[in-house]
Each structure stands twice: as C-alpha cells, then as structure tokens.
Amino acid sequence: MTTMTVKDEDPYGHGVGGWLSHVGEVVFGIPDTYRRELKLHRRRTIALTVLVVLLVIYPILNKAFLAAFSRNVFPLPLPDDTVVTFMMIFGIMAIGLNIVAGFAGLLDLGYVAFYALGAYTAAFLASSHWDSISVVFLANVTPGFPGIHLPFWIIVPMALLVAATFGALLGAPTLRLRGDYLAIVTLGFGEIVPVVFRNLSDVTFNFSLGPITLAAQHLNLTGGSLGINPIDAPFLPFANITFDASSGYAPVYLGMFLLVIAILIARNLERSRIGRAWMAIREDELAAEMMGVNTVRTKLLAFALGASFAGVAGSLQASYLGATTSDFFTFSTSILVLIMVILGGIGNIWGVLLGAVALVYVDKTFLPYVGQELQQVAPGLPNPAQFNFLFFGLILVGMMRFRPEGFLPNRQRAAELAGAHTQAEIEAKVDEVVAVDAVAEVEAAIEADPSIALDNLGPPPGQAEASGDARAPETIDEEREL
C-alpha cells in the first residue's frame, strides 16, 4: 500500500526524543494554555482549578482539621492517608488496564500478575532478603547492611521494565486468540504468577552443563507464604522524607506524582499513532490490518505498556507497605481493577480514575464504616466489609446490563457498546447508497447474483470472526428476538 510510506507530519521528530520534547512543550505551555482557557471558559476553568487545588491539599486539610470532626460534619467518613495512597496506586493500575482493555480492547483478567511482579521486584531489590550479599547503592541504609538495597527511584523503572517484559512474553503467544480465550489465558497467567512466588521458598537443584555446575540447597527464592519484609520505604535524599505507611500524607504525594506521570503518558499514548492503531484494532482488527496497522506489534505494545503501569503500582505498593506476600495478588484484585475501569467508563482515562477513586473509597472506607455503624445498631448482622465482592459482583452484572459504557463514557466506545449498527441505521445507509447510485445498476447486480443483496445487510463472515470482542453486534442477531 502506498499510503503506508507517507510520513506523518510531526514537528517534534520521531521516537523517544520527539515524545519527550513534545511533553516538555506541553508542560512549559501550561501557563499560556491556562490563560487562554481562563479567557474562553471562565467559569469552568475556575471550578476545575478549585477542584484540583482542593484535591492536592486534601491530605493536609484532612490531617489538619477535617478528620477531627468529619464524623459530625459530613454524613460520610473521609478517606484517610492510607486509603488515599491506595487510590493513587489503583489509579495507576486502572489507567494501565485501560490501555489494554479500553484502548486496545483486549480483556486482561490476570492483570494482578504484573502488580505482583512489580511488588516482588521492589522486594528483591530493596530488602534484606538476599542476606548473604550486601549491595547498598544510594539507599537510606548503612553500607554493609545485608541484602540488596537500591533506591526507590531506580526500582520504579526496573519494575516497569520487568512488568513490561512479562507483558510482552504473555502477549506473544496469545495474539491469535479471540476475546474470551484471551481473557482466560490471561486469567491463568494471573493465577500462576502468585503460585510461583508462594512456592519457590525452598528450592534445591543441581544442574551441570559441561564445566558449569549450578547447585543450591534449600534456597529461599521468594519468601514463600510469609512473603518478604521489611522492604525499604521510598526515600527522598535531600529533603529527607521517608514515604512509608507511618509518614502521614507524604506517600500520597509520591503516589500523586507517579499518577500524574501515568496520566500524562496515557493521554499522550491515546492521541498518538499507536493509540489510534489500538482503537482501530479494537473496532475491527481485520480492517486495521488492511489499513497497514501492524497488529502483532501494536497488540504486544498494548500488553507491555499496560503491564508496565501495574509494575510501577506494585513497586509503590510494596515499598509503601514495607512488605509483600503472594496473598495480596489474587484474582479478586484483577477483577477489582476491571470493575474500576468498567464503572468509570472503559476507554476514558478520567472515567477510570473516577472508578478507581470511588471503588477504593467504597472498599476501604465506606464499607468498613457502614460495618462499624451496623455493629453498633445490630451486632448480629454480617459485616458488609467482608462481603465487598457481593456488591462488586452486583455492580458488574448491573453495569453490563444497564450501562455498559460506564459513568464517564468514552464516546466511541459507548457508541460501539450501544450497537451503533442497528437495523434502522443500516437500512438508512442502504437506502442512501441506492439513492445515490443508479437504482437499476443495483437491481441488475442483485439479479445477476442474488447473494449480494444479503451481503449488504451484514458484515462479511470473515470479518465477524476476526474482530472478536470489538465487533459491532451482528445485525441478524437483533432480529432473533422478534
């Protein structure tokens, strides 16, 4: 195809350099953009500014005085520092899953695996787990202390790389699979990874290949069911700030910092060439391939990039909590992130963020609060905090039935889920075609080959098969109920 050779006009140049200079321009252009927005949409801009400032200073406000009398002033409890930090962590995860499931339309039910890989990367590289060696590099630990201790700022990119590598490894064999099979394979992967981490606590092997002999007796690779702890907390050297569970709102800002970077990257990806390719694959894989999209590379990138977000979130979670065990990483966590994405609006970054914030709030603040109140009123009743997944399950069923596009829908995706190609629309289109072209020509063609008249009504059979989950509902299916 000749169109493939046309260079797209990119004033910033190609590759990472171009991307960075573009991001730089966006960041430095913020004051100008802000002034322009203020002039054009005064009210909206002021409202958004107030909202963002409130969000940013919320932890301080909460610490300073809201928490003290929130029970009396507000009808609902306010989330504390830990919960807000988890909102950030899950926000990063939801944005990452949104890349795979929302942009590229590949349902990943084992997303927790990458979260686990990120957490264990942090655990391996910033703890005393490998106590027979001592590597201390720029970390907040006295030199000579046993174990590998790298600073959080190095662990984050490492976790990102590890998760992205495994994302691509998982993606590679699954590229040919259709939507639901892909979902099950990712589910299997998500179950295997924690099992591996749980079981590799007592490894004995003896392996020799020519002159090289590898042997180990009862080697504890992963800490087993106890996991690995303590893990070094993130530490900001010059300001002397530690970001652990006991340091109040500091980790909230660390999470916010990573989350903002995640949002920037995801928004850039969405509007980039690769983002458009993802959406093209989601809508119709065969058509995308015909238009010159390299589907293999594009899907692999979706898996790898989506996974890298979870890797970062995992390393933050492990470093923040100071411990990790394989029990954190269950199928339920994958589903929790999926619900965030679906609830907020699959495909829309702000929607999934809203979903993450709302669901973490419900899970970690609201339900325990209701449980507490219920215990006082009627001690015999079950605690709703233990049955959180009853509500989440109902949310999934209800959302799929009544609002599959989520509460802040992505416009394209909503149209697709609502079944843009209804019978009426297609008939209108057919009428249009008939009106514009010569009627006689169509009739003659139908007479010559009656099958093409039917072909007008439905997608060709090959297309329906290849496009998997992303396909529009087949028109004939809609007649079935009649």
Binding site: V195, D477, E478
Partner: protein, 308 residues
C-alpha cells in the same frame, strides 16, 4: 506400581466429578459461546445445598441403615439438581439473556460478576470456614474381597461412578436422540436458522442452562459425599479445573468434555501425589494456557460449536 494404580483410581473419581461440571461449561459454550464463569460456583452452591439437607434435615450418619441411606441420598440428589437447575435458569434470564446481542465480552464480565454474587451469598449464609460432614459410607476396602490389600477402592469412589456414569449416558442419549436434543444441536450450529425452522431458541438456551445446572447440582452432591467438605470459594478452583477439562477435550464437544475431565482428573491426582499439591493449580493453568494457545480446538475437536 501399586501407588501408581492407587493414584489412577483417585484421579478417576476426580475426573468423573470434573466431567459433570465440565459438561455444563461445554453445553453453554457450545450453544451461546459464553464462558459461564459462574458455573463452578453453582456447583459449590449444589454442594452446600446437599450438605444442608444431609446434615440439617436428615441427620444422616454412618449408622443410618443402608436402605434408608440409599433412598435419602437419591432424594437429596434429586432435590439438589432441581434447585441448582432453577438457579441456573434464573441466572441466564437475569444476567445473560439481556446481553445476547451485546459485544461478546459483556456476558463474560456479567458471568464473572455472577460468580462473585454466588460465592458471597454462600459465604453470607454458610460462613467463611470449611463446612464438613461425616463420611456416610463404610470405609472397607472393596478389593479385599479379591484378596488385594495394597490398592484400595472405597465405597465413596464406587458411589461417584454409580451416580456419574448413568447421568453421562442419559445426557448423551438426550442430546443425540430426543427432539429437544436435536433443537439444542441445531441452535448450537446456527441459532438464526434454527429459529427459522421453528426451534424456540430462547427456550432451548434456557433448557441448556437447566441441564447444565442440574448436572452441577449432582456434581455438588457427589463432591460433598466423596470429599465430605465444601467451602464458599471451592467453585473458583473447581470451576477452572472443569473449564480446563472442557477446553482440553474441545469446547462444545460433549464426549470431549468427559475425556478432558478424565485426563485432568489424572493430572490433578498425579501432580498431588508426585509433585506437590501446591503446584497442582499452576499445572492445571499451564495445561489450560498451552491448550488454548497451541490447540484451541482441543484434543477431540469442536463438534457442537463449529461456528466458534
């Protein structure tokens, strides 16, 4: 050698229970291409209902006279099958039928939600701890009649076969020989054409869920009488084993599901015995991934779901 045979016998009883559940997956997938994620949890509900009847209503124990025991167990199986069938049809009506024309992943997500709903309802009613009953059958080794003592076949294992095998044969007869079975096969092949030929497609799909649900209920009773224990989240692991069986045999293919289940029962038993129970799940998932990636049509190929 004795150990291997013993493991094989355990694997066989595992496999027969898997087969009952796997058939539910394969029937539903064959007809509407939905991975009914909640099916494993329906099986768990079945085992809970059976447990409630055995321990709560009939107070059965190993001291109960054999004739009464047989009669009551038959009743328990019948009641459980009816209840789980009704639950499954309700689920189809509420959670899947409205999504018949939605994109394919919508019903799958709805099914995952339903799975959690069932799990948590069981947790709510029965509590999070393991629920167990006493073994109702004599523990004598049946092979000691023939003078074999190194390998044992218990009444429990025979019971599994006595319940499972007739059900498998009955299902096979139903699908192959009856009018309704023909309607099911027609709907699986092409729902639109089947509809044009006068098959009530909605009713046929509901019937498929009814049969699948009844089989899951029977499997639940067999499970509680064989392993004597159940728990609210049993369905997830068991369901994935059964689903793997269905995929292994070629999803949509009834004979394949049974064959896959028997193979998977052996994989489970041998992995438990010779590797470690800790790794069994990882191995099952490994098999699942390998089959889906390298031979998605399964070992016996897809029959019911040729259009898949």
């Amino acid at each position: 050698m004795d150990q291997v045979i013993q493991t094989f016998i355990i694997g066989l009883s595992n496999g027969l229970i898997f087969a009952l559940v796997a058939l539910g997956y394969t029937l539903v997938y064959g007809i509407i291409e939905l991975i009914n994620f909640a099916h494993g949890d329906l099986f768990m509900i079945g085992s809970m209902i059976a447990l409630a009847q055995i321990a709560g209503i009939w107070h059965l124990s190993s001291a109960t006279p054999p004739l009464v025991l047989v009669a009551v167990i038959a009743l328990v199986i019948a009641v459980t099958m009816v209840v789980t069938a009704a639950i499954n049809v309700t689920i189809e009506r509420v959670a899947y039928r409205p999504l018949r024309n939605a994109p394919k992943l919508a019903p799958l997500i709805s099914a995952i939600g339903m799975s959690y709903v069932l799990q948590n309802i069981a947790n709510l009613i029965a509590g999070p701890a393991n629920k167990s009953i006493d073994n109702l059958f004599p523990t004598t080794n049946l092979l000691s009649v023939f003078g074999i003592t190194t390998i044992s076949v218990t009444f429990q294992q025979v019971f599994v076969a006595i319940v499972t095998i007739p059900l498998l044969i009955a299902l096979s007869w139903f699908v192959d020989r009856t009018r309704q079975g023909r309607a099911m096969r027609a709907t699986a092949q092409d729902p639109d054409t089947a509809g044009l030929m006068g098959v009530d497609v909605n009713r046929t799909i509901a019937l498929t869920f009814l049969i699948g649900g009844a089989l899951a209920g029977a499997a639940g009773v067999v499970q509680i009488l064989y392993n004597n224990v159940t728990v609210y989240n049993l369905g997830f692991r068991f369901g994935l084993n059964a689903f793997t069986s269905a995929v292994l045999g070629g999803i949509g293919n009834l004979n394949g599901a049974v064959a896959g289940a028997l193979v998977l029962g052996q994989i489970n038993a041998f992995s438990d015995r010779y590797l470690s129970a800790n790794w069994t799940n990882a191995i099952v998932f490994g098999v699942l991934i390998a089959v889906l990636v390298f031979k998605p049509t399964g070992l016996l190929g897809q029959q019911l779901a040729d259009r898949a």
